[in-house]
Each structure stands twice: as C-alpha cells, then as structure tokens.
Symmetry: D2
Subunit: 400 residues, 4 copies
C-alpha cells in the first residue's frame, strides 16, 4: 500500500501550484481581468495559456502525441486540484470542462480524420467545444431513455430535430458532440455525431440564466430544426451513443472531484487567513474552539475527498471502469465543496458574502455539484443496488 | 393555550395571501417588471403600492395614527409571511427591510418634530431609508464596542468622520439613521443621529458586490469626512446609541423570520408543483419515498419555524423583550430558509438551479440569514449563557 | 394566540415538579430502590403511589368519575413532562405506558360491565395491563394488514391461535387487550378482545432481551394455542380492531412525546450540573464556546419539542384527530430525546457512559423512540402524502 | 499510488475472515457460549484460542520472536477488521484491548527481564493485563497534567497512593501497567510501573456499571493505599510516564478504528440480510429507495473509514507518529460505527433493538467511541491547531 504521489507527479504538482499561486491568483484581484460572468478575459487568458504551454503544463489529460502531457488519471487528479486553486486556473492549462471531457472521448474513439478535424483545434486551444445531450422535460434529463431529439437518416446524411438544454459552453463553442435518437431500441437507440457552430439548421434559443457563475459559453438551450450531419461525422457505430456518453462520463465525473477539491482547499485557505487576524471581543477567531472545530472538519473532509478521488483514479488507471469508486468520490466531494464554501463564508462574515473573495463564486458553483452528472440520491441508490447484488463479496470484506 | 390566529388577523392574512397570489406573483414571470438586481421596477412598484394602499394593506407595523395598520407583532408575523410568498411582496406593502425597522424605531422614540421630518415620508412611501452602523475590520462588526466612526461635538452640531459598510439600501435611501461614537464609555459611548442623503460631508464609496440578490439600494460602503448634523437630529440622548440599536433589533430580528418563512413556503410550493408532474424512469418524483421524506422534513421545519416566530411575537406583544425567544426563532428559521431553498433546487434539478424559478434567488438570499443580526453561533453562546444563569428556573421546567 | 399554560394546570405542574424533585429523584441514588431491570422496587413503588394519591396527583388522564384527575390532553402533557424528570416517575403517578393508553381506550369505548371488570383495577393501581398487537415476521409488524393471529368464532366464544411479540409489560400484566384477525376483510378484518393472565390457552414464550431498559413486564413474545374468550369480552363491534388501535394510538403517540421531553430535560439538567464544575486545562467546560453551542442546541430542541407537543395536545382537546400534528411531534421529539442523552453523555465523558447517572438508561431507551408506533421514515412519507393532497390548502398558507 | 493490500496480507485476511465466519460467528447464537456480560465463556475461548494458534493466526501485532505474527500496522489493520466481524473475535486471536496495546508497549520498551516477567505470559494467553491511568474528577481525566496518584520513592521501592477509574479489564487482569506522578515537573512528572494483581496495597473498589457491554474485567475503580513497587519494575526512566502513554496510544487509537470497522461492517451485513427478505406493504425493504440511500451511505462511510485507517497505518509503518492521520481516522471511524449500528437497528426495527442480533451490543459499545482516547471535539481542536501552524504547507497543497 502506498498513499504517496509518484515523485515525477509530485514535482509537476509543485510546479503547477507555484504557477497558480504566483501567476494566476493575483489576476483575480483586478476586475479588468474578467468579464461580467467572472470568466477570465480573452486577452489575459491567451497570455496565461502561452505561459502554461511554455512551462510544459498544457492539457495534462491528453496523450503526448496529440500535444498534451500524457498523464495518468492519478497525475491528472494531482494537477487539476492545484489548477483549481484559482477560479481562472483550468482554462489557463486547457483543462477546463467541458473541453477536457470532449478531448478525452475524441482521443479515445474518433477516427484519425475525425481527430484531425475536431480534436486537434481543441487541444491547441484554438476553439472550444460542447457536449449536447440533456433535454428539457418531457425529454431525457437524468434518464437518457427519455431522449426525444431524433437523427433521421437521409441518404448518407443524418437530419436532426429536437431540443436540448443546459448545454455547457455552447455559446462559446465551435465544435459540438451531439447525442440523438436514431432508433427506439432500448439499449442501442442513441448515436453520437459531431457538428460545427457554423452549420445551419440549429440555433441557441437562450443562454439559461443560472445562479452559478456562468462558465465560458454559459448553459444554453438549443433548438435543432433540420441540421444536416454527414454520416462520416458519426462517432463510433450507429447505436453507440450511450457508450460514447459513458466513456466520456467515466473520467468526467472524476474530473469534477479533482476540480472541486482545489476550490474547497482555496476556501479553507481564505478562511484560515481571515480567522488568524480577525478579532472579536478581544480574541482572534482562530482562538475560539468552535471555530477550530469547523476548520478541522473541513480539512478532514478535503483529505477524505482526495483519498476517494485518488482511489478512483488509481482504479481507472488500472483499466477498470471504477463505477462504484467514482460514484462515491462524486457524491462525497460534492458535499465537501459546499461545506468548504459555506464554512468559509460563515467565518468571514460579511466579507465572505461579498464578492471581495471568490468564496461566493464557489458557493454558487458548488450548488450544482449535487446535481450534475447524476444527482447524489441517484448515485446512492445505484451504489445500494451493487451492494445488494454483491453481498457475498461484501461479507467477505473484499471490496476490490 | 391557543395556537390559532385571532379571526381578524386571519381575515387579513387571507386577504394578503390572495393579493400576493393574484397580483404580485404573476409579475415575476416577466423580466420587464424588474431590474438587473431583480428588484421590482419603480413604475410597477408604484402601481402595486397604490393597489395595496387602496386595499387597506399598508405598513402593517405602523400605528394607525401614522398611516399604518397598527397590528400587533403577531398580526405582523401572519401578514409578513404571506407577503413574502413573492420576492417582490414586501416592497409593495411598505413592509420591506430596512424601512420597516427604521419606521418602527422612529415611531417609538423620535420627537414629534423628528417624526414629521424623517418618519412620515417613509411611511407614505415617498422616500426609502437606511440604518448606518456596521463597520469594516478593525471597526465594529458584530461587536459594537469596536466602533470607530466618531461624532465630535462642535457647538450645537456634531461632525462625523469614519467608515461604514454593508449598509443595506444606502444607495436608494434618502433618510439615514447613523450610529457613531460620542465617547469612549463602554456602555454609553454610542449615539444615534439622522441625516439626509443631500447633506455634504459623506459619500458612497461603492456598492459592495455580493452573492445575494441586491435589495433596493444594495449593501454599500460609506465614508464620512466631516458630515455635519445638528444636535436636534439626535435620536434620544447622547450615549443612547446602543439602546436605539437594541430597540430596532428587537423586532427587526423577528421580522427576518417572518419573511424567511414566506420565502421558505414558496420554495416548498415550487417543489410540490414540480415533483407532481416530473417523471423519472416511469414514475413521478412525488411517488418516490426519499423525495417524500425530503418534502415532509421541509414542511415540518416550516411549521416549527412558524411556532417559534409566533411564540416570540406573542411575547413581544406582552411587553417582554423576548430575547431568548427571538434568538431561537432567528437561529432556527435561518436554517429553515436554506433547507427549503436547497431542497427545492435539488428536487427541481437543472430548472431549480436556473433563474426560471425564484429558487436560486432565495438560495443566495438565504446564505446571509445565518450571518445578519448576529451569527447563529453567537446567538447560541448567548442562549447557553442564559441557560447557565437560569438553571434553577430551567430545572423547574418553567421557561416562561 | 396564547402560548402559556392555564393557571390551574400551571399550579399542578409546579406541584408535580416539586414532588418528583423532592420525593422521587432521590430514590434513584440507592440501588436498593430498583431491580435488575432498573424498575422501581414494588414496595417503594407502593409507598410512592400512596403519596401521589394522597397529594391528588393520580392518573391525570382518567376522568374524575373513574378515579383520575380528569385533565385535558394539554394538562396531561404538562404533568407527564414533569413526572418523567425521573425514570421512576410515571409508575408512581399511574401514568406509565402501556397502562395509560389501555386505560384511555377502555375509558372511551368499553361497556359499563367491561369497565368494572377490566378498567377499574388498573385505575386503582391494583393490576397492570398490556396491549397485544405486534407480530413477528411474516406477520403484522408496522403493517396491520399482515396480521396472522386469528380469533375463530365457536358458539358464543372466540378461540385464539397465533404469535405476538414485543408485547410491552406482558410479563407483569394481569389484564390484556388483544387484537386478532376475525376475517380477511381489508378494513374490517381485525377485532379487539380482553383476557386475563390466569386464563389457559396461551403462554409467554420469552421475555425478549433488548438493549433498552426493560420496563415492568418487559417486551414479551406470546403464543396463543386455543385461548377461549367469551364474546362479551369483545371491545366494540366485530371488525373494529383497527378502530380500537387507532383510538389508543391517537393520544398514546403523543404521551410518548410528553415523557420524552421530561427525560430530555433531565439529561440537559445533568449536563448543566457537570459542565459548571468540571474543569479541563484550567477552565470549566461551561466556559468553552463549543460546549455552550451544544447545550443551546439541545435546549432549543426541547423547547421546539414542547411547542409541537402542546400544539398537538391542544388540537386533540378540540376534538380533532390531529394526525399530522401528532406525527410531527412524534418524529421530532424522538430525535430530541436521543440528542439530549447523547449530548449529556458526550459532555459528562466517562461518567456519562457509566450508570452513575440515568443518562445511559435514557440513551438506550431513546433508541426505540424512532421505531415505536411508526418508524420516523414512515411518518414522514405519510406527512408528505397529506402535503401533496392538500396542496391548495398549503399554498394558501392555512395549515390549521 | 497503490490502494490494494500486499498479496501475503490479503491471503491472511481471507484466512481470518473464513475462520471468523465459520468458527466464531456461529458461537454467538448459543447463550451458553457467553456470560452475563456477553463475554465469551472461558472454556469456549480456550478452545478457540487453540484453534487460532494452530492456524497460525495469533497475536498479529507481536514480533515473531516473541510468539506473534510480526505483521506491519497495515497487516494488523486488515486482520483486526476481519476479526471484529464477531464480537467474540479479538479475544480468540489474542488481539483484544487492552492486552494488545499493553503487549505492544512492553515489546517496544521493556527490558529483557521485564519482558520475560510481564510480557511473555500475556503473549501466550495465560494472563490478561490492564493499563492504569485515568482518574476521577478532580484528577487526571483527559488532561494528564491533573494526575493526582503519587508514587513516592522509599529506598529502592516506590509507594503508591491514589485513585483511578475506568480501568479497562482490571477485574480480569493479572498484570498491570500503572502511570503515577513522581514529581511536579510539567513534562516529566509522570512515570510508569508494572505490578501484579496479587501484590497487597491496592484494591478494586467497584466494577463501574456502564451502558456498554463490559469487556473481560470490566471498567473498574481502583484505590491505591500503599502498594509497593520495586524500582526494577519501572518502565523506562523516571519521568517517562507520558512517553510510555504516547507510545501505547500511538497505535492503540488506530487499533480502535480497525476493530470498529469490523463491527460496522457486521452491522451492515445484518441489515442487508434483513432488508432483502422483510416485506412491508408488499415490497421488500431493499426495494425502497430511502432504504437504499441509508445502506449506501453506511457503505460509503465504512470505505472512507478504511481508507483513513489504512493511510494512518501505512504512515505509522513508515516510522512517522502520524498523529494527524490517526486523529482523523479515530474521529471519523467513531462516527461510522455509531452510524452503522444505528442504521442497522432502524432497518431491522424491533429485531434490531432486541438482543436477537449483535446490533444492540454494538450500538452501546459504539457510544464510547467518541469519548475514549480523546473526545472527538478535542481531536478536532488539535487538528485545527496543526492546520493553523502549517498554513504554508497547507497552502502549498502538500499535506504529507
């Protein structure tokens, strides 16, 4: 058993941590560096991306031959956590959602031609991308079996009609991966396609206003009214839509955890700074034992979250789908993120509730954590199902 | 023992509930009715205020002779809860913070001349007001003993220097009540004054950006650099600043609870609407027993919050300060509000996280509930102090 | 609205509190006063019962004409809470379960002859009683529709066969009320009967060993193998078994709450005594703010529990079944009792875990609170069902 | 990074699991196998110990040359968890507290002569032992600085006077390790000694009755009134008492976690068995999604507890004191144990509350987990202190 990072990962981690602390976090202080959605301004981003590339810290999740760092999932986890010490971090390293998930799936299953056309520009940081799947009621929300958007075959093309929503990053994306229904088969009814922003036959109905900070390109509602996609831009086989989704989700769920841990740690760092200096009735907040208990509980939660994330990462690296481990990490770290932001705000008082620190940004962002990629309640019922099925294994204590 | 509302209050309650449901809530659906801070637009507000006045539902907390409904605190609690079923409600009935607290304190302690000058226009709805007390670190936050803003006597005037922040509504207020230091006496070192927005010698440094919805006039940082206030605009005696604050806070803390209950109930209503129709894997969310448990818990919390609020209201009506009862209500209902909004969002999923319902507005607003007017942790330590002092009373079971 | 006790109830409450504090609690200190199940010794009990009768504090729940105090449910709630400050209290006042529930139902629905035969001796304190309903798997546990014990008619008699368990007090009872199946009708399939311990045809298989303190007569498993009951000892009509159960449960569930509040308050009193004197690293536990927060939270929970209990009591007094109010009280106070005992133990450390105080007795006893008379989860789903059905009432804010 | 057990440990783990399942757990069903304190009967224990020895599964924590298995802390953790699937497990393998802690410390610091005299018989299973430290108020409870029991030097002997309590296993022990005050020096004021049950000058005042199951020898109160101990039976140097304590506690705290995980897993196994067959209103409990959520949460907690325990074990194996890691594991697993037992009882209903399963035994035992070897609140404040001191390390994300 070995709970420490491999030395080469540790060295990269330290390098990223220093980069974020010295080059990125200072940017947060000047409103000129971000837009009204609190996204880093394009010019600043471009500069930071150049620096990150120059430092060899670019696209950790992408194979070296495609332009990335070629790291294992464990390595990715270590670096993503550091990158997310700043809310601007992920974009600077080309490690932001949804691009990183899209790149991962394309790197895994696209044909060479598809990779050249759709993947390479994302890896290079020239375009951004979006994954188009979720539908509004009564379509496919958390239950893809209810998906209503259809791709009808017409010769060597597919014609798309339907409606999607909460499509992250759509308003800033050039490249899209779309999941649509190609038959009514229960298991093989969905297929995956790529399309370009400039193609006709679809539109962004609105950028859905949300509580949370809107990431690049927001969360959009999309309407498809005859978009034509050549069959050559189909990903995998007809009927493999769910498979594409699962390949993407496998690590995507865990990358959330990696990011959330970084944000949670930032919250705790802000709180530690504040309670060390803020006095109340003649003593610093840090000297009050109920404050200490709050801090210790958050610190424990963060370490537990990291253990769960790393365990799942190591299992993914071993070739396993690690569904159970990923679910556990996702459910737990979602709560950690909220708890860390909430505690930070409570300890910083009015300052914590203001935009003078990133705490409120993280607090709003955290609220989606229990919802995205499967509500926590759903993950738990799935975990319980596995537990019931594998009772003998359970009884034998052998959970590996 | 009687846990039911007096019939005349009940009749008013029903009237307000109907007004809110039929006249105010429909306004929420059209973005034209509110500004970028999600405050009701001035013209719409003016129209609604006219309607409310015409219906005899105006300023429930203000004595009849000053133009209000002259209700008891219990009556106010019943009506405020109804009014807050809409986020636009309180302003329409001239029952919004911080005006209602300012009106209450002025109605109680101002001289007739001061009432005519400062109170009447607020009651009539012609101007809004603000209460200027909290200071940034190292000044007086939750500990007024640390207050640094000074009022220096100069002849028959007072000259003010200092800095304040998180001053609710300042950017929209015409009339201000200011708490400043007039001596270093521990108990009688603070005094209260009124001033008008148009007086020179002070400025709004910034509207502090916050997570929460910014109410009319925001939460501002103020700088005083020689504001001159005639001694005639002093409230009560020199050294009575803390007393003014306490008179204001006595019921102001409880009015938060009244409002929060209304908002919490709205959250639950939205959730009930959604789970009754939204299906997942072939069954409505409402039919899932873990969903039922979530709903029941919120409903219970709301009823408990109302019991605590009404108990404190009844005790305030009896002439008691009801500190313990108000603290308990404040601590508990602050949690109820968060829980209700959080549950609403979790059950409504992406829709709950979007701005398509007021859930996200309420969720952000709820985050300040555990902080304003005393952090929950502070209230609890004060409650424990009372418990230790009054152990004999406690042991006797007699908590009245 | 009036949250205070009527003066005559308050006077009785003070009298009971004094009696318990001065006469009963001191008995707890001497092991000679109780048996190995920590039940008060018969001779001591007899003496205390005489004193209680002499003081006019006997069977608060029973009509005066039958020998009790004839109190309302509100009055009963006030007194029961005081009586339960000692774990020996209820028996001394003939207010212990299951006798009090059995007396209540017999006083309500028995014929005059049945009252003379079965009720009078219980009221006088000469015999104890038991209510025989719950069955082991696969019989009727929380779902009476699964009941398997049958009463077969034979001439003017009924013959009973079947198995019951967790029958509280059976091993010390002389009079039994039995619920058995008389037909397969879904709603009218059960009937109620009385039988005497000395009748043949049944036996106590075992006293089920449990975690909790075993009350008088334990929790027994019973086997019926031909017990003959004359039809004259049938309670209400054939098919009214469920009705008898519901009449009994209506207030019985709430009497649990009344008792639990008394026990919870005792826990807090013990904790307050201890933290005031116990020092750690030079300061009393009472001066540590996280300890204060723990104490304040328990105190709040107790007051909330009392509000919920009194609200339900007042509604029962008004003639309503108050199902929703009773459920809420039961669910909430069950948690309060655990929380109070748990906090008491945590603050008292090793002493709290020992039998040197009643904390550990109460802690074990508390564990059944979330199970008896409907698991908390079941109550919540029932509450949610009511909430869904009465949404319009809910929306109108009118919860009475 | 490697989260899997070394193969040789895994093989032993499987062997122990099988032994416990096949040989020990069946013993729980027959009351003839245990005494009134639910401790395994001496004859049965002797038989099982023989079997365990014969299987090579004896004293995992003790070096091979002293007769044990010589396992690392990681190995010990894996085996202890399995052994504790039965409440009789630890004693059968000579891995029960307090013997295992006493053996560990003696194996580490005793002289060869002391090892032969005091350690060997414990390792062989011929005698049991006890560690005598905690004192009643106003002596040294959680704060050893308050210790009052004194060892006064008289020639080559030490004479002991004082009072101790909660001395685990004292009533069944032959060999005792005693901590007493030898000077008033703040850091070097305590020393450690060995004495034998048969020596005069001390007595067991009482076996303190406790809620929890009384382990072999109970938790006793001891009085020392002139016990004479030769200086040759002093452990380490005069003034090293605190050091001895810390050496013992280092791994002893973590062995609690190992045991608690085994018990928690047993609780979950019992619950899984029950919910799979118990029906309510026509469906098994296992099919209810709120039940699934409860099960999944416990399963997650157990896996997290194991990760924390194994991480601390691995760090101890590396030679580090691992204080932070041990504290986190102890605080967390204490909660896991309660949660698992509580959930088991709630799901099994009356059966869970009875002694028909070990759930109630575990529930009572679990209550001491948040108290022994440092209350959870104390561990958290200590953790927070470390967090404040190491903020730079924290900020750098580097928590190793």
């Amino acid at each position: 058993m070995d709970f420490s990072l491999p030395p080469e990962i540790e060295a990269l981690r330290v390098q990223v941590a220093q980069f974020v602390r010295e080059r990125i976090i200072p940017l947060e202080a000047d409103p000129a560096n971000y837009d009204e959605h609190e996204n880093i301004a394009p010019a600043v981003l471009a500069r930071m991306q150049q620096e990150a590339k120059a430092a060899g810290l670019w696209a950790p999740q992408i194979p070296r031959e495609l332009g990335g760092m070629g790291l294992s999932v464990v390595g990715r986890a270590a670096l993503y956590e550091e990158m997310n010490a700043s809310i601007f971090g992920p974009a600077c390293f080309n490690a932001a959602a949804p691009d990183d998930g899209n790149m991962t799936v394309l790197a895994k299953v696209a044909t060479p031609a598809q990779k050249a056309r759709w993947l390479a520009p994302i890896v290079e940081g020239r375009v951004r991308s979006s994954f188009v799947m979720t539908e509004p009621h009564p379509g496919g929300g958390s239950d893809p079996g209810m998906m209503l958007t259809r791709a009808e075959r017409r010769g060597s093309d597919w014609v798309i009609h339907g409606r999607k929503w909460f499509i992250t990053g759509a308003d800033a994306a050039q490249h899209f991966i779309l999941i649509a229904r190609t038959s009514d088969d229960t298991r093989k009814g969905l297929s995956a396609f790529m399309f370009d922003r400039d193609q006709p036959g679809w539109r962004i109905v609105r950028r859905i206003p949300i509580m949370g900070p809107e990431e690049h390109g927001g969360h959009c509602e999309l309407e498809f009214d005859g978009l034509v996609i050549p069959d050559s831009e189909r990903l995998l086989e007809v009927g493999d839509g769910l498979k594409v989704t699962q390949i993407r989700l496998g690590t995507a769920r865990l990358t959330h955890c990696m990011r959330w841990l970084g944000l949670a740690k930032r919250c705790l760092a802000i709180a530690l700074d504040y309670v060390g200096v803020r006095e109340n009735h003649g003593r610093t907040l840090a000297s009050i034992d109920s404050v200490q208990i709050m801090l210790a509980e958050v610190a424990m939660q963060i370490e537990i979250g990291r253990l769960l994330t790393m365990r799942a990462a190591a299992k993914l690296d071993s070739g396993d789908f690690a569904r159970r481990e990923v679910s556990m990490a996702k459910v737990f770290v979602a709560d950690v993120l909220h708890r860390a932001a909430d505690t930070g705000i409570q300890l910083c008082g009015g300052r914590g509730y203001s935009k003078d620190t990133p705490l409120e940004w993280i607090y709003r962002y955290a609220r989606q954590a229990r919802l995205v990629d499967g509500a926590s309640e759903v993950h738990k019922t799935v975990l319980a199902g596995a537990l019931m099925r594998e009772r003998d294994a359970f009884w034998s204590w052998d959970r590996r």
